[in-house]
Symmetry: C2
DNA sequence: CAATGATGTTCCCTATTCCGGGACAACGTC
DNA sequence: GACGTTGTCCCGGAATAGGGAACATCATTG
């Protein structure tokens, strides 16, 4: 297995991944510096991506931003994610009775990716939104999802360097390991200003019809609005919604089929 | 200018573009057939894209589907599109009083791309959704957006082959040209089952603060629920929302700045 | 307004890579 | 177990992608 395979494709995505909500517009030199590629290479790649309408060039500033092809491809993923389709109406209903920001989150290689965020209108850009990737160790949903990964994956992540976002961020493998065990027992995770000062959140796992954890529901609020009494209230609501999603997710199987699949130790995460 | 520039990047997106809501999972041979690339090339490209987490492989079926990197990149575009951010709350409000499917749409090279669709929960998958691309000639929003493109672009599109979706689909340049002129006079467009039998829609343009058409609002309903009396009602509502979006879009400029920019004939579509 | 600096594009050349063909392997089906 | 289908691996040669440098463009500064 040679490392990166087709190098220009690898480089193209190295460049594309530099674009984010925080850095939506980037120039050639900037990209060159960030990726370590020569500016001539960046220039050529970026021009190619423009021809594919993956990027768009701002003629005035000569900077580039992601464009419609990226949007179209991303939308396909969104529509394919069963947990999104099923989760959206459930969480919308939940929103009517539950204040705060509600998010649906999946695990991906030591990080979490936000799939849904309600309410959607983000006048206040305080909270993370759809499509954003954040490391596991500092968020409630990250910790709950990591807690349910297999040993191998957990150990891999525990060894990684953990960035500190606030004074309360967990930064060592030992601390996180203890936290994960506690979480697995209680069945929910808490983040009290571990990612952002003034902001706390609760998360519960979402299971599929084969009892595998496929996602997490996350409720975020200003810390002072999330007393332990209130957490109990919110958790009840969240667990109910989690169960609703489980019931509606997955190809409905007979019990014998289910046993068969589980016996085969299917760890294939295809059906999120 | 050499045609495609970096060919492997071009080929990668040729492959990626084959994935859609209708064809979310594809295998190597299938992709090879569709793209005209050799199956060995497709295999290698697809493996590279898996390493980049743009695609994910289903171990059981050996087919591929778009995956989280695509979602993350697409989300950046979504958040960057000012007309989305501004349009979403406006159209949500509109939804409360207006039945039917409400969509926000932009023009892109002879096609339209749906940015938003309300209501979002699509139990009934009858209507087009977010991120979907459809040719201009057969939809209300496509016709209204095309009508406001410049001569050059209109003529380019008029010459293209137009696919027929129903008996009522416009399929010749002459017909479409007449239709566009009518639309430009009345200020709105209609599609009576030109794309799908039993489904009709109305569309109005959305202007930015420099009076350029940047998007369209589209309302779709079963044909029998869209009488001409009802169309007048809906149009009133739509035009009101369109104006609201215009007011809230764009960097607020002084009148002198505005004149300057318009004098410079800025056709740069960067600021959608 | 010339000089300077910073950024972006194009050209050229070579080492590398990537493509296509074919062999091989893994399934599923009859 | 034979066959058809599909996916992966291997290999050699042709094409191309990448880096360096020149050139171009724009912004800033004295």
């Amino acid at each position: 297995m040679n490392g990166e395979m087709l190098s220009s494709i690898h480089n193209a995505f190295k460049i594309l991944r530099e674009f984010s909500q925080d850095d939506p517009e980037l120039g050639v030199i900037e990209l060159s510096r960030r990726t370590g590629l020569s500016k001539s290479s960046v220039s050529r790649i970026v021009q190619t991506l423009c021809k594919e309408h993956v990027l768009q060039k701002n003629i005035d500033t000569r900077k580039y931003r992601l464009w419609l092809t990226a949007f179209e491809l991303g939308s396909v993923v969104y529509h394919e994610l069963e947990v999104c389709r099923v989760g959206l109406p459930v969480l919308k209903k939940m929103m009517e009775s539950t204040p705060g920001v509600i998010q649906l989150v999946v695990y991906d290689r030591g990080s979490i990716v936000f799939l849904l965020k309600l309410p959607e209108d983000d006048e206040a850009q305080i909270f993370n939104s759809m499509g954003v990737r954040v490391p596991c160790h500092c968020t409630a949903s990250g910790k709950i999802l990591l807690a349910f990964q297999d040993e191998l994956e957990i150990n891999r992540v525990l060894k990684e360097k953990m960035k500190s976002y606030t004074k309360k961020t967990i930064t060592t493998g030992e601390q996180l390991s203890i936290e994960l065990q506690k979480i697995k027992q209680t069945g929910y995770a808490l983040s009290r200003e571990e990612f952002k000062i003034g902001v706390s959140s609760v998360a519960v796992p979402v299971y599929d019809d084969l009892n595998r954890v496929i996602a997490a529901i996350n409720v975020t609020r200003p810390t002072q609005l999330l007393s332990s009494a209130e957490i109990d209230n919110v958790l009840k609501e969240m667990k109910y919604c989690s169960r609703l999603i489980t019931e509606r997710v997955g190809i409905k199987l007979s019990n014998s089929q289910r046993r068969q699949i589980l016996a085969a130790k299917v760890t294939n995460r295809w059906r999120i």
